[in-house]
């Protein structure tokens, strides 16, 4: 088996890298794919918390690269989906505790066992980012419709291309239909015009995300929510299925009622 390694990165912090990693990983696992998530944010780990697996950590990524344990011992099986695994970051160490070479070897080892390896990158463009992109096949950029986020995403695309990671894909997060409708927020076209990359998906702003993150339960488990559905669609697109982007325009009251009662 030769899996695909994808880094989820953004440059800017707080745009939803970890949430995206947790949800795409869970969604891909629900499509019966074997998935391993790697938290590359050493020293500021979060992915375990978002997945509700914090209390199961015994060994972490640093233990693996330092040879304190075998890779399998550090991989935590998700409590809901047996196809999903997490390789947590160390919390009491820093980004320099692991090298790009070690990450590359680790990802190659995992790719032999998994269909997908998703690497949750830390914010920034320093060593942590360098480690996160080492050995991956595809860059998935998360950006919110804000000038600062788009600017950072542009920088990241340049850095990825310099590393030979061409054609990164874009995930636009926290889009607010009402604000786009009023012209108060950048729309998808504005962002694509600047970044000139393929849009893999659009996630609407959704307060359910906050609830699901705090509970440690990915939103994709609730397909009824708009954002959960969006993540599930993105997972299917990664799998090569042709799913059109969900319409983000402000829906009419009639359509809204139809959606809520489940007619459309």
């Amino acid at each position: 088996m030769e899996g695909k390694a994808i880094v989820i990165t953004s440059g800017k912090g707080g745009v939803g890298k970890t949430t995206t990693t947790a949800n795409l990983g869970t969604a891909l696992a629900m499509l019966d794919k074997k998935v391993c998530l790697i938290d590359a944010d050493i020293g500021l780990r979060n992915l375990d918390v978002v997945l509700g697996l914090e209390n199961r950590i015994v060994y972490d990524l640093i233990d693996v690269v330092e040879g304190n344990c075998r890779l399998e011992q550090a991989m935590i099986k998700d409590k809901r989906n047996p196809n999903l695994f997490l390789l947590p970051a160390a919390q009491t160490r820093d980004k320099d505790a692991v090298s790009e070479e070690q990450m590359k070897n680790l990802i190659n080892e995992l790719k032999e066992k998994m269909d997908y390896v998703l690497v949750d990158s830390p914010a920034g463009i320093e060593q942590g980012f360098r480690n996160a992109i080492a050995g991956v096949d595809l860059g998935l950029i998360v950006a919110t419709p804000e000038v600062s986020s788009v600017r950072d995403a542009d920088r990241i695309i340049g850095l990825l291309e310099a590393e030979g990671l061409n054609d990164p894909q874009l995930l636009i997060n926290r889009l607010r239909r009402d604000m786009v409708g009023r012209g108060d927020m950048m729309n998808i076209d504005d962002i694509v015009e600047i970044l000139a990359v393929e849009v893999l998906g659009v996630i609407p702003e959704d307060e359910n995300i906050v609830i699901s993150t705090n509970k440690g339960e990915p939103i994709v488990l609730k397909d009824k929510t708009y954002s959960g559905k969006a993540f599930n669609n993105i997972a299917k697109r990664i799998e090569g299925q042709d799913i059109p982007l969900m319409t983000i325009e402000k829906e009419s009251l009639f359509n809204k009622v139809k959606r809520i009662v489940g007619l459309s």
Binding site: G43, E54, N55, R56, I57, V58, T92, R93
Partner: protein, 218 residues
């Protein structure tokens, strides 16, 4: 590891010796260390780490004399980490702490260390013997000791008592809600749906090969 290693804490400077070297070599390198340091140690306290060695006290007497030659009388010199319990010394022999212990304020009382303040996410406190923490241990923090661990506060992070294999080790806290609890070679985590906010002191220990948690009766 070098012949002598120094570590800064808020309370002073800890000096650790590598006892693999000949004692004369250690003495010489301590001398040259003080020569280089100049007035660096003015006003700070020095802690000599005994390590796992059962050394003759005269060895330390000699080291003290060297230090006193170079330092002003205001500098206090203390011995720390005196090992008298073979069993729990395993932690310093094999599992030599790799992480920097973050000890804001430390006072050494025999083999028990008192740490004041909140231990935050990413911080790790380790000690070969007993640990008393006056403050909270937040989620993401790690507290590890060769002996018992007592937390006068909320224990919410990862805790490992008896880390060298001491099964009689106990963990006690005013509120015991750790992410994960380890005693000797046993690992346990609290039930997922445990959301009660009762503020009653509890202790954890090993009974019949399992980690048991029970209320502390006064």
């Amino acid at each position: 590891m070098q012949i002598i290693n120094t570590k800064m804490t808020a309370k002073g400077v800890i000096i650790d010796f590598d006892w693999k070297y000949d004692f004369d070599v250690i003495k010489d390198s301590l001398k040259s260390h003080f020569e280089e340091a100049g007035s660096f140690y003015e006003g700070t306290d020095l802690f000599f780490k005994v390590g796992q060695n059962e050394l003759e006290l005269n060895y330390f007497k000699e080291l003290f004399e060297i230090a006193e030659n170079f330092l002003s009388s205001e500098t206090g010199i203390y011995l720390v980490g005196q090992e008298d319990n073979k069993e729990s010394s395993d932690i310093s022999k094999e599992n030599r702490p790799k992480k920097e212990a973050i000890i804001e304020e430390v006072s050494f009382k025999g083999d028990t260390v008192l740490v004041k303040g909140t231990i935050r996410s990413g911080q790790a406190v380790e000690h070969p013997h007993n640990l008393v923490i006056m403050g909270d241990v937040n989620p993401g923090a790690e507290v590890k000791a060769g002996g018992d661990i007592i937390v006068f506060g909320r224990l919410m992070g990862l805790v490992h008592a008896g880390a060298g294999g001491k099964k009689e080790a106990q963990v006690a806290a005013l509120r015991l809600a750790p992410t994960q609890i380890r005693i000797a070679n046993k690992i346990s985590r609290p039930p997922e749906d445990n959301d009660d906010q009762i503020f009653s002191p509890e202790k954890a220990f090993i009974k019949e090969e399992r980690i048991i948690v029970e209320k502390i009766d006064f």
